[in-house]
Amino acid sequence: MPRIYEVLRKKILAPRIKEMDVYVPQIAKSAKPGQFVIVIPDEKGERTPLTLVDWNRDEGWVRLVFLEVGVSTMKLGMKEPGSTLYYVAGPLGNPTHVEKFGTVVVIGGGVAIAAAYPIARAFKEVSNHVISVIGARSANLLIYEELMRSVSDELHITTDDGSKGMKGFTSDALVALLNKGLKPNLVWMVGPAPMMKACSEVTKKYRIKAIASLNPIMVCGMGMCGACRVKVGGKIRFTCYEGPEFDANEVDWDELIFRLKMYQKEELEALKLFLSKYGLGGDTHA
């Protein structure tokens, strides 16, 4: 029997992108698509939100996929199978509203393609026509391609440098689809805030219902601190317990983008200190 919070498996999907299965039966038991967990790597660690990418109720594990961008995600990346995390809480947030809409475009950018996977799967399971658009900076950073293909009726790929699929951003692929006459009933998106902003400019222009899964900075994850607040339709909303999904056409993206940069100075300082102690963890070549 694994111990609670034990890392069962770890896989490197792309440079600095890792997939990790963690034993937390109470979360696996109630997890639904669109929800997330808060992980603390060690006793001095930060409360780090990560999306639930997959789970197994019988075996009691949940799957996380993360990009190593700073100290918390690097600490997490250094955890080996057999070791335990300090804390995992969840599932948090409201599950994605899944029903048969008709044609649904699912957009995932960067590491968040993994977060789009359970959503595309859920939309597919209730017989939507699922068109997935996934994008990465470069071909070697593109993850979950085969998994996304397996749950989509159509799969479109973009890379910023053109090394795979269409050269450009996911929003460019969305425009191309719409120009060809596609009339989706829903566009669902997850990824870096600037990507979601670009996609929502398109959906706004074409008057398409659009949902975005937001990723603001969080602390508590339970409606107590307000760190995750965003402005949607002019109102303050808490992403952790009222979200994480909101009407993409109503989100104040510029404010979210500013708020994500709030600790840039401190993050850089911490990262430098961390790297001087531990180096890059040795798997950059992967």
């Binding site: 979360i27 930060e46 409360r47 809480a89 602390v219 339970m222 307000g226 303050i236 500013f258 709030m262």
Partner: protein, 463 residues
């Protein structure tokens, strides 16, 4: 009537020293000072002080025992009614509770009941005194306690002592509620809270952290497995001013600011991973204890100036007098009769200025305090960090996910006089029921609910 001696002052660290760190400000009485203060007590036969204490500590009795140097017995007397005296002795608003009713309050200075309670609790801890709990015979019933703040702590302790199998669920990674994430280390060292939580574990309470009831598991699930459920999820949901610019960077809610510092130890960044902004000119909005805690914490993070902006005047400030004095001694400044109208930011989205409406006092409002009325005049105030400490709503997660539990207009769970909610086998108490209360009020509710649960489950076997 004998001449009344003045109250023995509680030794404190000097302001210039204490604002450099987060260590405790008040040092507490030693044996000599405690006995001296205890000797002032008149041992009033009608015990007026006791009626000011929400859990009914036998105050004259424990004070008499201090006078006789029987500290261990004094400890047992307090502990009989109050499970966490090292905490209540430090944070109870005594001037509005026990000390308010002390006979000496009318004649001069009331007995320092809180300071004496704290002395006894600290003495007991230093001398390794544990209160033996009656060997429990299991009643064969299981109770789930949701939330590990003072209300939950008391329900869990009382029921465990009565022989119930108790499991406590806490969403955060450390149990204790506001005691660990809200009240700063310099007023309440966290070590003391951990000791009290360990006492719960010794009583056999099983504590499950990282469980958000409503998400990880629902109240319905709990009712399948447990005979009763107690909801003590507090009033930790921050309010906003609803004015333009409120989401600018470095405008914190007091909860976020204090949680980063207390729970996440951001003041030790980068040794700890959670960052916090260190503002130079800080504005704190509000006039309660939370505002004082935020202002004094900001000073300790190295702010050059901290200003508390309050919409009424000093006389109406809801904060404890002692905390206002402490803040002032440390250099916190106050600006009265102002109310934010909006926030202005720079091109990085960081707050730089607050627009303030000037106010004047009008007729009393529902709270009995004069209502602040805008004068029509607006001023601006420079600040590179703002902490919003205007108050809280009840935590919405359980009501949101359990419609059978009825709430009032303000989102507070409605209970009968003994803590029963509208949903059978579900009880509630503390801030989720009263809105923003105090530690000892939450404990008082916890005690009531524990008794109701015991009555319903075992004595009357109603359930």
């Amino acid at each position: 009537m004998p001449k009344i001696k003045p109250r023995v002052p509680l030794p404190k660290r000097p302001p210039e020293e204490r604002i450099k760190d987060f260590n405790e400000v008040a040092l507490g009485y030693d044996e000599k000072l405690a006995i001296e203060e205890a000797s002032r007590c008149l041992q009033c036969p009608n015990k007026p002080c006791v009626k000011g204490c929400p859990v009914g500590v036998d105050i004259p009795r424990f004070i008499k025992l201090i006078r006789e140097r029987r500290f261990e017995e004094a400890y047992k007397v307090i502990k009989d009614k109050c499970p966490i005296p090292a905490i209540t002795g430090r944070v109870c608003p005594q001037e509005r509770q026990c000390e308010k009713y002390c006979t000496l309050a009318k004649l001069g200075q009331p007995i320092a009941i809180g300071a004496l309670e704290r002395f006894v609790a600290d003495w007991a801890r230093e001398h390794g005194i544990a209160v033996e709990h009656a060997p429990k015979t299991s009643v064969g019933k299981k109770v789930a306690v949701v939330g590990s703040g003072p209300a939950g702590i008391v329900v869990a302790a009382d029921l465990a002592r009565l022989g119930y199998e108790v499991t406590m669920f806490e969403a955060l990674h450390v149990p204790g509620g506001v005691l660990v994430y809200g009240i700063p280390e310099y007023r309440l060292p966290k070590k003391i809270v951990y000791d009290e939580i360990n006492y719960l574990r010794e009583l056999g309470v099983n504590i499950e952290i990282g469980v958000s009831v409503g998400r990880t598991i629902t109240v319905y699930d709990l009712l399948d497995e447990y005979d009763a459920v107690f909801v003590g999820t507090g009033a930790g949901h921050p309010r906003f001013l609803n004015v333009p610019g409120e989401n600018l960077n470095y405008i914190y809610t007091a909860n976020e600011f204090l949680t980063r510092i207390n729970l996440m130890r951001a003041y030790l960044f980068p040794e700890y991973d959670t960052p916090i902004h260190r503002g130079k000119r800080v504005a704190v909005i509000g006039g309660g204890n939370t505002a004082m805690d935020a202002a004094r914490s900001a000073l300790r993070l190295g702010a050059e100036e901290v200003h508390v902006l309050y919409r009424r005047t000093r006389a109406e400030m809801p904060a404890r007098k002692e905390e206002i004095e402490n803040a002032e001694e440390e250099g916190v400044k106050f600006v009265f009769l102002v109310q934010p109208k909006g926030f202005i930011g720079n091109d990085l989205g960081n707050v730089s200025e607050i627009m303030l409406k000037k106010m004047r006092l009008g007729e009393p409002d529902a709270s009995g305090r004069p209502r602040p009325i805008p004068t029509g005049e607006t001023i601006t105030f420079q600040a590179d960090m703002v902490i919003n400490a205007i108050g809280f709503y009840p935590n919405p997660l359980i009501p949101q996910t359990t419609p059978e539990i009825k709430t009032d207009k303000k989102g507070r769970i409605i209970v009968d006089s003994e803590g029963r909610t509208s949903m059978p086998r579900v009880y509630a108490g503390g801030d989720i029921v009263i809105g923003e209360g105090t530690v000892i009020e939450a404990m008082g509710w916890g005690r009531k609910a524990a008794l109701a649960i015991h009555k319903d489950l075992t004595i009357n076997k109603k359930i």
